[in-house]
């Protein structure tokens, strides 16, 4: 199969959706003329014109509100927030208006909110590095996906565009240009809510998502060389999340590490761990381990950033402890 880089896979999903469905349009800051700060939307203005690829003022609240309005008026808007951190500036419409419309009056809101999220291991600092999936997971009515491969970047975005609900796609900016992989050329849909067993193993389970799934697979290779055989479950979707696949893996291995990049406290990994504690209590041979970002802002200096972030080496160390328990 043909290989694409992660950001190219995102662009392909957008391109194909714009081709296939006249209701689809894009809006966001600097996405048209500039092609987006990560050049993900480059070329789309030229192909689809300014009515379907719309540059907006710096107005995250209005971008999210407008996408919501266009969605209920029959369009399939795809809004980009330039960095996921800035969703905080449009937080209210998202969590109070967009997320509750269907529950309150039965009106579907088929919109997508895309945003580059997560750290870069390149000093992007406290306001261009955050992973805030836990905020959205607290809000009923929002779906959330975090693709960890180019194929999933295309497939989950495509699923998001077709979903009748608001879906937040937290694209992993670390992977945009670092990860290349096979991506189906034509229609490619990855169902929202299905985890992927990215690697099978017997000794322990790692549950991870986004960049941490990528790092965990690297860790698994290192561990394999030591004779430790870990299973890596890439969650892919945060809301809804695939409890069955996770619980089945834990039932098999009896040991689990939950690895996430967001701040440890009240991160989504807490939900995963709590669920396992509730549902798989008797299958566990060791305490559930969480490895996560620190409870500090995400610092800029590489020395500090490295200390903040979980990476393959920290995963390896954690899993060694887990297996030795």
């Amino acid at each position: 199969m043909r290989h694409l880089t992660y950001y190219q896979a995102v662009r392909e999903a957008l391109w194909q959706a714009l081709e296939a469905d006249p209701r689809v349009f894009l809006l966001g800051e600097d996405i048209a003329t500039y092609g987006g700060v990560y050049k993900v939307t480059e070329g789309l203005l030229e192909r689809f014109g300014p009515d379907r690829v719309i540059d907006t003022p710096i107005s995250e609240n209005a971008i999210i509100g407008a996408a919501t309005g266009a969605a209920i008026a029959g369009m399939r808007p795809i809004a980009e927030i330039q960095f996921a951190d800035f969703i905080a500036s449009g937080f209210d419409p998202l969590v109070n208006m967009t997320s509750t419309i269907h529950y309150r009056w039965g009106q579907p809101v088929p919109m997508v909110l895309r945003a580059p999220a997560g750290a870069t291991w390149a000093s992007a600092g406290p306001f261009h590095s955050q992973s805030m999936e836990a905020w959205f997971a607290q809000i009923p009515g929002l779906k959330v996906v975090m693709p960890a491969t180019p194929a999933d970047a295309k497939g989950l975005l495509t699923a998001a565009i077709r979903d009748p609900n608001p879906v937040i796609v937290l694209e992993q900016k670390y992977l945009y240009r670092r990860m290349t992989g096979p991506v189906p050329e034509g229609e490619h849909v990855v169902p929202i809510g299905e985890a992927q067993v990215a690697r099978e193993g017997r000794d322990a389970t790692i549950v991870a998502w986004g960049t941490m799934a990528f790092k965990s697979l690297q860790a698994a290779e290192i561990l394999a060389a030591e004779g430790i055989d870990v299973e890596v479950v890439d969650l892919r979707s945060i809301v809804p999340w695939d409890r069955e696949t996770v619980l089945a893996s834990v039932a098999k291995t009896g040991r689990v590490a939950v690895v996430y990049e967001a701040h440890r406290t009240a991160g989504f990994g807490a939900e995963v761990a709590a669920t396992i504690a509730e549902e798989a209590f008797q299958a566990l041979d060791a305490p559930i381990l969480r490895l996560a970002g620190l409870d500090t802002p995400i610092p800029a200096h590489p020395v500090l950033e490295a200390e903040y972030l979980p990476d393959e080496h920290k995963v390896v160390e954690a899993v060694r402890g887990l297996v030795g328990f």
């Binding site: 209920i72 369009m75 529950y103």
Partner: protein, 320 residues
């Protein structure tokens, strides 16, 4: 659209119906027969009625919580209103939300939420959809004076102006945001001065004159429909009751209420259509009886509707 005699009688009718429904709801609420509080548009009826009446059926309105009249003009039946207020299972919100948060895109009504003024950016999006599809439709949204202090207002109006979408922005300036008077909400001489900063037309209208509101909105809608972008219309009025039915509003100077009582939009309009020979005591008596009956029946009907069942709570978080 210029108003025929029949139109003018209808404007009067809708204002009267709006007030009758709200008066009945006031009583119901005090009797504990409603879910949640009541926020009325008593004294402001000319704005939602005049504004909604200026729209075409295929237009969309995103009204605020005092806009009973706008709902009625769009075809919402008083039964639906009372069912909604009672949180009935088959009401617009199915008991999940309360108040005048009725939403129904098939009739072009965006359901509001409590957070102010969150329908405004949504209305911008509706208008954007019309623009993209090149449909000759407009979106209209109403909001209070207090709501113009929010970032949501600013971002949405500015973006609407930049994108030149067909949006009509109707501010119901009733002098107060809960207990906060205009002077502590904005420092400009007139709220409509904000239009200058957005580079859009601004209109200042007597919000207690239903025909003036209708004319201003008609003009703004025509401009928007023709690709001329948004207009900000400030309708000056007065909140004649407390913020909600539990607010005694003793912070409002009694003189102010007395002064505005003179300008009641319904009384004024009745005088006007009577002077024009379109209305008389007999018609009034007939209307009175009709409204009474319609309201009584509607309450009856609504009250007979089923309550939500506990399991309903789980239904509908996501669309299938």
């Amino acid at each position: 659209m210029s108003l025929t005699d029949e139109h003018r009688r209808q404007l009067y009718y809708y204002m009267r119906l709006s007030r009758a429904v709200e008066d009945a709801a006031w009583a119901l609420n005090n009797q504990g027969r409603m879910v949640g509080r009541l926020y009325t548009g008593h004294g402001q009826e000319a704005i939602p009625v005049g504004a909604a009446y200026a729209l075409e059926p295929e237009d969309v309105i995103a009204p605020m919580y005092r806009d009973m009249g706008a709902h009625l003009v769009r075809g919402v039946d008083p039964v639906e209103v009372f069912a909604q207020f009672m949180g009935k299972r088959d009401s617009s919100n199915m008991g999940k939300d309360s108040g005048l948060h009725i939403g129904d895109m098939s009739r072009g009504i965006v359901g509001m939420i409590s957070v102010l003024p969150d329908s405004l950016p949504v209305a911008l999006g509706v208008a954007l959809a019309f623009k993209i599809r090149k449909e000759p439709r407009v979106a209209l949204t109403t909001f209070g004076d207090g709501s113009t202090s929010t970032g949501a207002f600013h971002e949405a109006v500015n973006m609407a102006a930049v994108l030149q979408v067909p949006l009509v922005l109707v501010c119901e300036n009733n002098g107060w945001a809960l207990s906060t008077p205009n002077a502590r909400e904005y420092a400009a001489a007139n709220l409509v001065d904000k239009a200058v900063g957005y580079g859009i037309p601004g209109r200042h209208v007597d919000g207690n004159d239903v025909e003036a509101v209708h004319a201003a909105v008609s003009e703004a809608a025509a401009l928007a429909r023709a690709g001329g972008g948004p207009t900000l219309i400030e309708c000056r009025t007065m909140r004649m009751r407390g913020h909600s039915n539990i607010d005694p509003a003793d912070y409002v100077p009694p003189e102010m209420l007395a002064e505005w009582a003179e300008r009641d939009p319904i009384h004024r309009y009745r005088a006007r259509i009577e002077a024009a020979g379109l209305w008389d005591a007999e018609r009034e008596a007939g209307l009175e009886a009709e409204l009474q009956e319609r309201i009584d029946q509607a309450i009856h009907q609504a009250e007979a509707m089923p309550e939500p069942e506990p399991e309903d709570v789980h239904v509908g978080v996501f669309a299938e």
